[in-house]
Structure formats: structure tokens, C-alpha cells
Subunit: 267 residues, 2 copies
DNA sequence: CGATCTGTTGAAGTGAGTCAATAGTGGTGG
DNA sequence: CCACCACTATTGACTCACTTCAACAGATCG
């Protein structure tokens, strides 16, 4: 639904000549220095942490920070898979479509996440910026050559990919065997853990994605997501001060629920 | 349900001293030669294909072919993750359980598949032999040292893991967004492709796993799996000569169905 | 401040689940 | 070889969690 690869800039955009189909380099104030990697807030979370300080300039030479606006689709399934992406800021939604339009969101990516691995010549998925997103984009071949010289990076990438694989198996349990309540509880707990890992308070989680994206991630409909949110509010588990934010009031119960133990009906 | 890690051998087993908790070395006729890897039928399909002929003895030194009987659980979720496995024969079921016993099968592994990656100290999943299974078992640390000397192997493992990740995202689409008919069609087509890849005729697929395993893989119940099989027979899409075997009569329609196009109700 | 999205709530429908009975299937031993 | 048992698969009747369809409410933004 509504992926437009078309032009990225509005009329009057100050960088008409430099525009790429899906993204543009950062504007002046944020222009990459000689060592953007050294200052990158996402480095410790990402692939790039496996590169020693003195080699960072080689990594920096491979890429340039870019940004895309919210709601922009910057990878379209089926396009040639020429690039790999390291998300440095914002939230990205990865999804696949069935021919009739049914959508499955296979993941949300955050600061530090890596994107684009896959052996195919073309992307098997689409990616859309949920918020404004910054990323470093690498050429596939260039990154592979780089990894030949820096085996630690390859090891790190393997570890990250193995992590992803384990996470996706957890998501299969969710999609195949959990109830709507359990699914949404799992989602909230997952976001809460993410938030905590970034050093923020774990009881306030951002929900930048739409209800529809949440539904497509959990294998539900928008209506069910909405109804379960309302249930959770009534049960005193959460508060929803705004649409884009949730406050977790009873974390323990949510965790229990996410693991399949529903205090409402443990029989 | 019913995972017994206990003793693996019957009384009178000729190798009582060498018995490991979950498996035993192959009996005499199949005893590993100096170069078991050179003769391994699964090599070209697996990780080991990335090792040159003259280095195979180093790989062989790391491991020893083993086998487990059908229905034996040889990895239990929560156990220390000391080993990695390369399946050389048979079919393995990987699964996770919710505390109340709900089961999600996250994958079936076949000849050439690799098993055990994951950054954790303990396994996050259980693995059970569906048929008699042969595998090569590696120590985690030993394999990582080996990969330091043979970066090609690490590259291969990364590629294989990325493949797995893509496949697991496809499975998310199946679990989250496909109907029962579409799920079972996808399953049959997947098995058919596997079969073809091993050079066998693609219209006869083996179904060594139980209906219950199939259901737990597809996020359904046994009854629904059974009912849809019956539908497919009535629709002339397949034949089920025995429980453990299916003949595909109308591959084209099954492929269509698996992709979400149901000729019965395209409306 | 109306227009347009996005989210919520309600009423009714349904695909798959549950519960229950029956039919195969394979193994065992007399 | 058959009779029995235990287990797996199939089929049927009924239920229900979630979907669908529809109306409404709240947010966002020219």
C-alpha cells in the first residue's frame, strides 16, 4: 500500500542536484567530518564497534551518513540489492507483501541495527522509515572487501545475524502460538527492553509506528490491537497518554502475559 | 512433551563406554575413516564445502560422525550451548515451547543444514530427530578457532545464516498472514523444492514428520492440517498414498495458493 | 475550522479451534 | 499369521477468538 519510489524532495528543496532516488546527504550543519564514525552515537551498538579507533577512517571512507524522512520507502522488494545499511537514528519498518496486499512486518529496526544482508541479487523485503531515519549506506562489494581486511567486523556481523535469527524464531512463536493479548504484551515488553538498553527509563516506551504497523507486525488487525490496548488500560497494565507513547504500569504482569501466562485465565 | 535426555543405548550395545548422553559414534561398518569429510555426501550442501580438499583432514579432526535414532531429543532448550551441528542425513525438528506446552516448530532441518548458531550460553530451542539422523558435531570454541584460519568457512556460515534469516522472514509471512490452505500449500511446495534440490523427482515428497509437527510448524492444529489435506485431495491437487508421503498432482495451483492466490476464491 | 487521517468502539460473521467419536497403522507376541 | 494394543490420523458437531463491516471520535494540518 502506497509505496512511492518517486521523487524524494519537495519543490524548493535546497539540494536538487544531489538528490538520490531514496535519500540525500545530510545538510551542511550535519555534513560528515573526516571522522564521522568516531563521533557516531550508534557505533557502540553496531557493526562499527568491531573496528579499532585507528582504522575508523577506512570505514568512514566507505560510506556517508544519509537521512530519509518519515514514511519514505527506501528499499523496495525486488530492487537490485546493491547496498547494506547501518541504522544510526530513528525507526525503520521492514515488511513483505502478498500479491493481494496483505502485509507482514517482519521487524522494526532501531539505532545500531544492520539491514540488507541476504544472498540474493535483489531485496526480498521493503523498508520504510517510520520516523526520520539516519543511516550509513555501504556498497555490498565494498563492505565485503573491507571485511576481508577486518575479520573482526565479519565476526561481529555473523554474531549480529545469528542474534537476528534467534529473534525471528521468537517472533514465530508469537505469530504461530500466542493470543492477541500475549502478542501485544510481548510487543510492549520488547520495546521496553529496547528502551532500557539505550539507557532510557523502561516504563515509558515510544510507539512511533501506527496501529496498523503494529497489527501487521503481530499478525492481527488494527481493530484488535486497539481493543487490546483498551483492555490493558482497563486492567491497569498501561496508560496511553498519547497515541505515540505508552507508560507501563504493571511490568511484571505484562512479562508474564508475554510468556503465555495470563493471570486472567490460568484455568 | 516427552523429551528424555536419558540413556541412549539398549542393553548389549557394543559401545557402552563411549556413550554420550544424546548420541553414539557410528558402529563399526560406518566408523569414520581418516578422511570422512572427503566422502561425505552432504559436504557440497554444507558449510564444509568451503574447505579445500587438502585441508579437509583439519576439519575432520574437529569432529566425528554421530547418529541419533528417530524421536530422540538431542538438544534441550536451556542446556549449555557447547556444540554446533552439521546435519548429514535425516530430518530434524527445531522447536520452542511456551510454559503451558504450546509448541512452535521453527524449522525442519535436512541434509547439509547447520544448527546451533546463537550468541547465548544456552540453547534457546530444542531439537528432535524426526527420522534417524546423522550429524557432525563441533565444539563451539574449536569451530571458531578453525574459522580464524579458514575465513572462507566463516563467509560461508554468514551466507548460510543470512539465508536462514530470509527464510524465517518468509515463515513470518506464512504464520502472520496466510490462511490454512495457503500455509499447507506453502509447506508442500517448500518440501517439493527441497526434494528437487537433492536431485529427486519433485512431485513425490516425503512427509516424515507427524501431522502434529506439521501443525506446530504452520501455526495450526492437527485437525485443521488433516482437513486441508482432505480438501486438497478432493480438489485434485495431491494424493496421499501413505501418511508419510504425498504426490503432487497440480504443482502450479499449489504454487499459486502458496503465494496467496486462491483459485477457489480470488473474487 | 473544515477536511482528512488515524484510532476507537460496536455489532455481526467466520475460519480455525475444541471436543468427541471413529478409523487407520504399526508394532508385539502368542 | 492374526489378535490385540497403542498411537496417529480423519471426520463431525459445535464454539469462539479474532475478523469484518460500519459508525464514530480524536488528532493533525492546511
Amino acid at each position: 500500500m502506497g509505496q512511492d519510489k518517486a521523487d524524494t524532495h519537495k519543490a524548493g528543496d535546497p539540494y536538487p542536484r544531489v538528490i538520490l532516488p531514496e535519500a540525500r546527504p545530510l545538510p551542511h550543519g550535519l555534513k560528515p567530518s573526516a571522522e564521522p564514525c568516531a563521533a557516531c552515537a550508534a557505533r557502540v551498538l553496531s557493526l562499527c564497534d568491531a573496528v579499532d579507533q585507528q582504522d575508523l577512517h577506512r570505514l568512514a571512507a566507505l560510506t556517508k551518513p544519509r537521512q530519509v524522512e518519515a514514511h519514505r520507502t527506501f528499499i523496495v522488494a525486488g530492487d537490485p540489492a546493491e547496498h547494506l545499511f547501518n541504522i544510526t537514528e530513528g525507526v525503520v519498518k521492514i515488511y513483505r507483501l502478498l500479491p493481494d496486499g496483505r502485509q507482514q512486518v517482519t521487524g522494526f529496526l532501531f539505532k545500531g541495527d544492520f539491514l540488507g544482508l541476504g544472498p540474493e541479487r535483489t531485496y526480498a523485503f521493503s523498508a520504510e522509515a517510520v520516523t526520520r531515519v539516519r543511516y550509513c549506506r555501504f556498497g555490498r562489494a565494498a563492505l565485503h572487501r573491507f571485511m576481508d581486511d577486518f575479520p573482526k567486523v565479519e565476526k561481529r556481523l555473523l554474531a549480529m545475524t545469528a542474534n537476528e535469527l534467534a529473534a525471528s524464531h521468537e517472533q514465530m512463536v508469537l505469530l504461530g502460538r500466542k493470543t492477541a493479548r500475549e502478542k501485544l504484551a510481548s510487543f510492549l515488553v520488547m520495546l521496553s527492553r529496547r528502551t532500557a538498553r539505550l539507557g532510557k527509563r523502561e516504563d515509558v516506551v515510544a510507539l512511533p509506528m501506527s496501529r496498523s504497523d503494529i497489527a501487521d507486525y503481530l499478525g492481527l488487525t488494527v481493530e484488535t490491537v486497539s481493543r487490546v490496548f483498551t483492555q490493558f488500560k482497563k486492567d491497569g497494565l498501561i496508560e496511553l497518554p498519547t497515541t505515540g507513547r505508552a507508560r507501563i504500569k504493571d511490568r511484571e504482569t505484562l512479562v508474564q502475559l508475554s510468556e503465555g501466562v495470563d493471570p486472567r485465565s490460568p484455568s
